[in-house]
Symmetry: C2
Subunit: 402 residues, 2 copies
């Protein structure tokens, strides 16, 4: 299709596939970020079709990665193909930045961007893609949280011993309980000094967007099996807390005997995994340093801290001209106002483009819908959404005509 | 051998085997407590011999339960056989109280004793047996700690959810961390009001016995892989803390993702098991009630508390005439002063006899030695210790001659 393709090796990682489409008449460049790696298809017995054959049934395509994220990537390439069949030239240069490590936390992405700034330069990036909501309104995500993922390991006696020795033998599970209590209290406030120093209050515009966004709180609570959200938050306040609060979350804890009944043991080792979600403008490296200093000051230098990864949060202004262009395009293609999320509660490496290169980023126009089953068996997309995704990309490209 | 045997059914449990040997001329009765159940033999591949064949090699007998506790039981029966071959009558009545649920926490023992007080009545009970130490000195244990074994379960969302939801979804692992922190602080003090109310300070005699007892602290620390004991205690103070302190010990903690690397999950459930060792004169039912009231007052009524069992602590005075008789017998048979432990750090159901019936209890004259490998593969006893155990029992019986 005339897109120049380069496979750029990544040291100790999967290569980046880079595609570039240059236009003689264009002054601006539009970037697309996607990934070609997928989640493992297991458990296979819960799939109705083989996960790597892309079977079509009832207007849907079933395959691992068909939503996350190959469907959106292919829709974008199909848009180029469609436009080429009709037009001679393109009003904007295109860059396709496709990595292969998104599902394992993009461990080499920041370094890759730092080393390839000229290659990646553009005026705006459309991220993975999102999709439409229950009422077929397109979602537009302008921001993401960052993350700091840590593991703590404590050691006691050199092997599990009888619990009668508890008065004189340190228990590593207790060490971690006290460490965790020093990180966050029952008031849900993180106790590490300086943790909130860089946190930016949501703007009036952010809150206004939350007020406009539809959200079925009752259905969500039923889905989660909760009678109320944590702390009793509700409505726009619930959305604000969800999207604009830093978190300190225990993802896993393991120590000693966990089988049925009782066993009187004092464990040799204990392990806990914690993910901290970060909000604008927290930085994982700064916070990690503060956390380590704090733990040292609290007497926890006996506990090993393992760093599993960190992303900065990133957020594009809803008033950015690139965002305005996207919103107008989305409304034109989908025939309704898009739902604008100033930031999502989850994490994606927007920051490598937004923070490191100063380029606006938005996730929009993807093939997903609420029944996509991302990361799960029977992942699927609806063909009508796939077609709309192609139309959106084509329309966005044509929006650069002067 | 003329011992009248009854197999007494236990509702929902393994029967008690009761043996009685009545003597015309005797006024006193000597009781023996043993158990016929054993720990499972697994892992089988670590045994040098089949675990249930009692193979003899290098002056040792190898079998599951040969020390804990069948060896001591059989030695006591062999003593009766030997005495009968020599003497016409016995100077003391004998009772053999043999249960079959010791290794699972004697769940029906207290009820059985309550229902069979007349049957079990005696002037003193010799417990399971202990054995000799590194220098072949007989150990005599006069007391045990009690225990309260609990499990706490917290629930969050109805299934594991993405950790980005942490700002609005309660995390059950955090609930348990905060609950545990409210039970015990990093100063190792239990925070439940009234927990220490009934605790009795060790007597001067207790401390004197600890000072006399041999203890290789350096070897023990090496065995545990510790450079120092918890809190830096050492010497007699270490032994006092070990044997006379109540404990609150995490035996197991399980929540969320505990595999390699990172997974961003907020767990649906979390579970922790805790054993509390109790010292004279704490009572598990009283403490359990205080604990539940405390948790309620601290706002933890959302956490389920599961009771896995409780024993009272129990302690026989070193000045009791029954103990004096035992110590004299032990010195005569083993040819050296016995090592007297006023209480051990572990737990055994002494209390059903000592506290419920007011009968002195001591554990002494068993077949064990430091290499016995109790509860482990290649459990074994030395034949010479087995012979001494028979001699001890015979000598104790004869000590009742007037």
């Amino acid at each position: 299709m005339g897109i120049g393709v380069k496979v750029v090796p990544v040291k100790d990682g999967n290569p980046v596939v880079f595609g570039e489409f240059k236009s003689r008449e264009a002054r601006q460049t539009l970037g697309f970020y996607n990934h070609y790696d997928v989640q493992p298809p297991e458990p296979l017995d819960l799939w109705d079709f083989p996960p790597f054959e892309a079977r079509v049934k009832d207007g849907k395509i079933f395959a691992r990665g068909v939503d996350d994220n190959k469907g959106s990537l292919v829709a974008r390439i199909e848009a180029v193909k469609a436009l080429k069949a009709v037009y001679d030239g393109f009003p904007v240069n295109l860059k396709f930045f496709v990595e292969g490590e998104e599902e394992i936390g993009s461990p080499h992405l920041e370094y890759f961007v730092k080393e390839n700034m000229d290659l990646l330069k553009a005026d705006g990036y459309v991220w993975e893609g999102d999709g439409v909501d229950e009422q077929n309104r397109p979602n537009v995500s302008l921001g993401v949280k960052g993350i700091l993922y840590l593991e703590f390991r404590a050691k006691g006696p050199k092997r599990d011993v009888h619990s009668s020795l508890a008065p004189i033998v340190p228990n590593p599970a207790w060490r971690l309980v006290w460490l965790l209590s020093s990180l966050k209290g029952a008031d849900e406030k993180i106790r590490i000094p300086g943790w909130y120093d860089e946190v930016v209050t949501p703007t009036e515009k952010d809150i206004q967007l939350l007020k406009q966004a539809p959200f079925d709180e009752k259905a969500d609570k039923e889905e989660l099996g909760l009678t109320e959200y944590l702390g009793g938050v509700t409505g726009v306040e619930g959305q604000r807390v969800l999207r604009f609060s830093p978190t300190c979350n225990i993802t896993g804890f393991e120590a000693g005997y966990t089988g049925p009944g009782s066993k009187t043991v004092l464990p040799s080792e204990a392990m806990v995994k914690v993910d901290f979600r970060l909000v604008e403008a927290q930085k994982p490296d700064v916070l990690f340093r503060r956390l380590k200093e704090y733990l040292y000051s609290q007497g926890f230098s006996d506990v090993a801290v393992i760093y599993h990864g960190g992303y900065e949060p990133a957020k594009t202004s809803p008033d950015d001209p690139f965002v305005i262009r996207i919103l107008e395009t989305a409304e034109r293609v989908y025939g309704c106002k898009p739902v604008i999320w100033p930031t999502i509660a989850g994490t994606s490496p927007f920051y490598v483009i937004k923070n490191r290169m100063g380029i606006p980023v938005a996730s929009v126009g993807g093939v997903g819908y609420p029944g996509s089953k991302v990361h799960a068996p029977n992942e699927n997309v609806r063909i009508k959404d796939y077609v709309n995704s192609i139309k959106f990309t084509a329309s966005l490209i044509l929006s650069y005509r002067t």
